[in-house]
Each structure stands twice: as structure tokens, then as C-alpha cells.
Amino acid sequence: MSGRVLLPLLRRDLLLAYRRRTELLLPLVFLLVVVSLFPLGVGPGPQVLARIAVGVIWIAALLATVVSLDGLFRSDFEDGSLEQVAVSGHSLARVALVKALVHWLVAGLPIVLLSPLLAIWMNLPEGGLGALVASLALGTPTLSLLGAIGAALTVSLNRGGQLLSLLVFPLYVPILILATSAVSSATDSLPYNGQLGLLAAGLVAALTLAPMAIAAALKLSLE
């Protein structure tokens, strides 16, 4: 039974994402829209914007991730696909890993790719761009993995979206702190390898532990 299902599942989920390709753009557009609210709310002064740039970009990335998390297992749960996968006897942990991977490809990777544009918008000081991209690249997969635990726990609840954000934001706090501190160090021309190292360590830990937690949560939700 092993890993044979992973490829079809990956293919199916990417196909589904492609079917609704306008929706593929949505996490991106959401990010753009949220980031652009800040100048409107805070005022267009470039100094203030530069000062809060990292925080805003990372918080927007967090929000974009959380908003897209709710759908991660929901449609599979509601249309009965999840039951089918559970009955098929495949390891749910591997299935969870694939789901988190697809989520990152669809919602996380675009954020990484888009971050230079956001940096220009928010007037991020020059030296910070590299650290921003690196922190996003290392941090967003962890966001997807941790978030998937919350999504799995809330999938059987009617309106899981907000509960979900309550569950996962506390888990995201360390990532947010590490990442923003990496970028601020970079803009101050300080070394920031330490923070990136910790982010990488977090990613490895999440990769090994989160799938099991997700699988247990899914089983619970199905009962």
C-alpha cells in the first residue's frame, strides 16, 4: 500500500488547482490587496512604510496562508473523498504530506516569488530583500505544515475558518519573530544566518512531526 498513492494524489490535486486556475491567483491577489491596504490605512509616507515593511509583508503572508488553509481538507471532507482515501488503507500521514506540499506550491511559493514586488511597494530598505526572500522560502512551508494540523482539526466543523486562525496563529508566532528579526538584521547589515538556521530547523521538525499530527486529526474528524 505504501507510497503508490502519492503520485496520483499529487497529480489530482494539482489538476484540481489547475482547473480553478483563477483561484490559483487568489492567494497572490489577496496578498497584494492586504499589503496595499497598509499604505492606505497608515499613510503613504515612505519612512513609516519602510519601518514596518517586513512586519507587514510577513503578516500578510501569514494571513494569506491562513485564509487559504480552510479549503485544504474541507472539500475532500464534504464530498466524501476523504472517506474514500481513509478506507483505501493508505497511510494518512503520507497523504497529509502531499496535501501540505500542494498547499505550499499553490499558496506559499507564489508569496516567495512575489516578495520582491512587495518589497518595492513597501519601500523595504535595499539590503533586506535577500533575507526576506530566504526567510519566506524557509518559513512558508512550515506555515503550510503547521496550518494543515489546524485545518484537519477543524474540517468537520461548520465554519472552521476563524477557529482555524485562532488555533494556528499562536503556532506561527515564533516563525514570525525569527523571520522579521532576520530581515531587520539584514537591513542593519548584521549577520542573520542564525535566524535562518533556526527557521530551517523548524522546517525539518515540522516535516517529520506534522504529518502524523495531521493524520491523527483527520481520523478524528471523520468519526
Binding site: R20, T22, L25, V29, V33, L40, P44, P46, I120
Partner: protein, 249 residues
């Protein structure tokens, strides 16, 4: 039936519109290319460089016409959308939805050329100036209309939903525009304004010509998209089958 009403109905009849558009499109392209070539040649090669901005001012000949188009296409899209919602004219639904990507493209061109222009003149790709901000919001409005349209799998339903959204957006555009202008002047008096008050005639004429060419481009592009759509949707009908097999034009 009054004359106006008859024309209206004729316009809504797919085979008639298909044939009429087919006849009109080559002429539109012809005028568009002639005017575009003339205006760009004049603007990019002949017109004098700006005494302040130098050669970079030539971006204006792309930037300003697309900025004008970005708003006027939204207005047209909303008008088509209104006809679609009130009279259920399929042709109006198609034309409203065909307008959206063209308008979004012009908006994007405005933003990109503006950013590229901003680098040499303002020293930065982007500032939260009022005009820039409202152009960005306009892009979001277009993306919303297109996203909503394509999210439905029944095309007519998607078109009507998006038309409704475009009308709501139309009501809001002036409000957004004024609030943003007011916001920026309030927060940041004397910001880097876009100075368009005194354009020398030697620059104004090529600008107007390119702007006219852009209008013809829109017409030609819109009708081409409409024709494709009409053919696709009516593939079961006799007139469409006959046209495809070369029976009639």
C-alpha cells in the same frame, strides 16, 4: 417596432452581429495600425525630448493613452453589463466580458510604464501617490470582474454575476478616486504630483493620435473576441455550422 428598438434587437441577434463584426474588424485594424504607426513614429522619433526629463518622456506616448483607456473601457464594460442584466442580451454579456481583459491589460500597461518612468524621474518605482493608488485599485476591480466571471462554469451565469459586480464597481470608482486624491493630499501635501498641465502642442498631437489608435485597437480586439465567442456558443446552430464549413459569411 420603433427604429431604435429594431436596431437594438438586431444588435442582439448573434448571426447579424457575427457578420457585421466580421465586416467591420478589418477596417478597425487598418485605421488602428495606420494611426498607431503615425503617432508612435511622431512621438518616439520626431517630437522633442523634454527639457527636464530628457528622452524618458517618450514613455508618455504609451503611458497616457493606456491610462485614458483603462478608465473608459471600465465605463463601457459597465454599460454593456447594464444592458446584459436588464434586457438579457447575450451579445452585451459577451462584450462586457470581452472588455474586461482588454481593460485590465491597459491598466497593467499604465502601471508598468508608469513605474518604469518613475525610476528616472522620481528615483523610485513606486510611491503611494493618489493617481497611482487609484489605478492600482482599478486593476483590482478588473481582476475581481474577471475572476468572478471565470469562477462560474455556466458562462451566462458568470457573465451576469460579473456584470453586476462591474456596476457596483462603477458606482464606487468616483468615490474611490476622490477619497484617494483627498487621502494623499491630506497626508502628504506637496507629494510628487503628476504634472500634466502644460503639454506643448508638438507633444500633444502625437499623444492624441496614439490615443485614437488605442480606441480603434479596443474596438477591433473587442469585436474579434466577440466573434470567437459567438461562434463557439452557437456551434449547434445552423448559421454557425454553415459559416465554419464555408457556406456563408
Amino acid at each position: 417596432m420603433s427604429r431604435a428598438k429594431r436596431i437594438f434587437h438586431q444588435f442582439g441577434s448573434p448571426p447579424w452581429l457575427f457578420r457585421f463584426a466580421g465586416w467591420l474588424i478589418p477596417w478597425l485594424w487598418l485605421v488602428c495600425i495606420a494611426l498607431g504607426a503615425w503617432g508612435l513614429w511622431w512621438g518616439l522619433l520626431i517630437a522633442p525630448p523634454d527639457y527636464l526629463q530628457g528622452e524618458s518622456v517618450r514613455i508618455m506616448y504609451l503611458h497616457v493613452p493606456s491610462a485614458w483607456m483603462s478608465y473608459s473601457i471600465y465605463l463601457l464594460m459597465a454599460i454593456f453589463g447594464f444592458c446584459a442584466l436588464v434586457w438579457h442580451v447575450r451579445a452585451a454579456e459577451i462584450m462586457a466580458m470581452a472588455s474586461a481583459p482588454i481593460g485590465a491589460a491597459f491598466t497593467l500597461v499604465t502601471l508598468v510604464t508608469g513605474s518604469l518612468w518613475g525610476r528616472p524621474t522620481w528615483g523610485t518605482y513606486w510611491v503611494w501617490d493618489a493617481r497611482l493608488t487609484s489605478e492600482l485599485v482599478l486593476l483590482f476591480l478588473y481582476l475581481g470582474v474577471m475572476g468572478l466571471h471565470s469562477a462560474f462554469d455556466e458562462p451566462r451565469k458568470g457573465a451576469r454575476a460579473a456584470a453586476l459586480l462591474s456596476l457596483v464597481g462603477l458606482v464606487n470608482i468616483p468615490i474611490i478616486h476622490y477619497s484617494v486624491v483627498w487621502w494623499n493630499t491630506l497626508h502628504q501635501p506637496g507629494s510628487v504630483g503628476v504634472d500634466g498641465s502644460s503639454i506643448h502642442p508638438s507633444m500633444l498631437w502625437p499623444l492624441l493620435i496614439v490615443a485614437l489608435a488605442a480606441k480603434f485597437y479596443y474596438g477591433a480586439n473587442l469585436l474579434s473576441r466577440t466573434r470567437v465567442r459567438l461562434l463557439e456558443e452557437n456551434r449547434h446552430r445552423r448559421w454557425a455550422r454553415a459559416w465554419v464549413t464555408g457556406g456563408i459569411d
